[in-house]
């Protein structure tokens, strides 16, 4: 189901509010909101601002290097990118049927990462919203505030 993105007809005379950068999340993003003078929202965008060009510069590299390179796409989900690349290499080297051990190993790695990234996101980044509330005092709304209040 696809629909035209709500795009403001005349963005130039709308008021711009930006959440720049989006914090307490892993990754680079910026949210811009355009409102009219009655605070009605006409357009909201989440801008992914980081462009690095991995798609291009992994070309020309030895294929067994790529899984290790693409880990650096993301610091919290390197395993996913590594395994995605490994999956691509399976096709290249003709390893169409994974040995049971290999499959279990990959699943285990995925679970391990999910555990680590969820725990990290939940406790380090997201918990201040849940424990202190979305509109709580900015200076406290972080892991340090949590550490002081709930050691």
């Amino acid at each position: 189901m696809s629909f035209a993105l709500e795009t403001a007809a005349h963005p130039e005379n709308l008021r711009r509010v930006a959440i720049d950068p989006v914090s307490r999340v892993e990754g680079h993003g910026k949210v811009t909101i355009l409102l009219d003078d009655k605070n009605k929202v006409h357009q909201v965008r989440l801008h992914i601002v980081e462009f690095r060009g991995f798609e291009k510069f992994i070309q020309g590299r030895p294929y067994w290097e790529v899984p290790v390179m693409v880990q650096r796409l993301c610091g919290i989900c390197p395993v996913s990118h590594h395994l995605a690349a490994s999956k691509a290499l399976d096709a290249i080297v003709g390893a169409h049927h994974l040995t049971p051990t290999a499959e279990k190993m990959r699943r285990l790695m995925h679970y391990g990462q999910i555990l680590q990234s969820h725990a990290l996101h939940f406790f380090h980044l997201c918990s201040p919203d849940l424990l202190f509330g979305f509109d709580s005092d900015v200076s406290k709304r972080n892991i340090v505030g949590i550490a002081e209040k709930h050691p």
Binding site: V25, G53, L120, N142
Partner: protein, 183 residues
């Protein structure tokens, strides 16, 4: 850790063209985080909601410079932080993203936005909200003066801890075998 007699040092961190791996590794110092927070308080950081870096004692920069936004943020940090630390291969020597430097930016943008299979009449994004990429990726010491470096991709939690505690105690940071890694 001696008791916090001195006023807390103000620390700001950011990730420029990084992948946040160094910040995650920073959080790997685990329970020592509680010792650290006795000595420091955080200013702008992906871990807090402070959006702009005020006057700080230490600025920790992860990630190299891929686009104009990175330069703005880096300059803001340099202007406000007494001491600047480059953490991770990207900040120290350009890291993985710098592997695009031998290619022309045009060929990269063409490949990603035009030539990719499955992309119907793709076009290179020109929304003014998006920062423009630099023609080459630079480590941060090539744009501002950097005081200390923690190499690694990512540097281990212990390596980060060692450098931070060395600095907090006023010593020249030393890593030595086992802690110093570039990969």
């Amino acid at each position: 850790m001696e008791a916090a007699t001195k006023p807390k040092l103000r620390v700001a961190t950011t990730s420029l063209a990084g992948c946040f791996g160094c910040h995650m590794s920073f959080l790997d110092i685990d329970e020592r985080l509680f010792d650290l927070v006795k000595l420091v308080e955080f200013d702008r950081s992906p871990l807090t909601d402070i959006k702009h870096c005020g006057p700080c004692d230490i600025g920790i920069i992860e990630g190299g410079l891929c686009n104009a936004e990175n330069v703005h943020v880096l300059r803001e940090f340099r202007a406000n932080c007494k001491t600047l630390i480059a953490i991770g291969a990207c900040a120290v020597n350009g890291g993985l993203p710098a592997q695009r430097n031998h290619l022309s930016l045009a060929s990269i943008l063409e490949e990603v936005y035009h030539a990719q299979h499955g992309l119907v009449d793709g076009f290179i994004p020109n929304d003014p909200e998006l920062p423009l990429p630099l023609d080459k990726v630079h480590p941060i010491h090539e744009v501002v003066k950097v005081d200390y470096f923690i190499p690694g991709c990512p540097p281990s939690g212990d390596a980060i801890w060692k450098v931070l505690t060395d600095l907090l105690a006023g010593r020249e940071p030393e890593l030595g075998h086992g802690l110093i890694h570039y990969d």
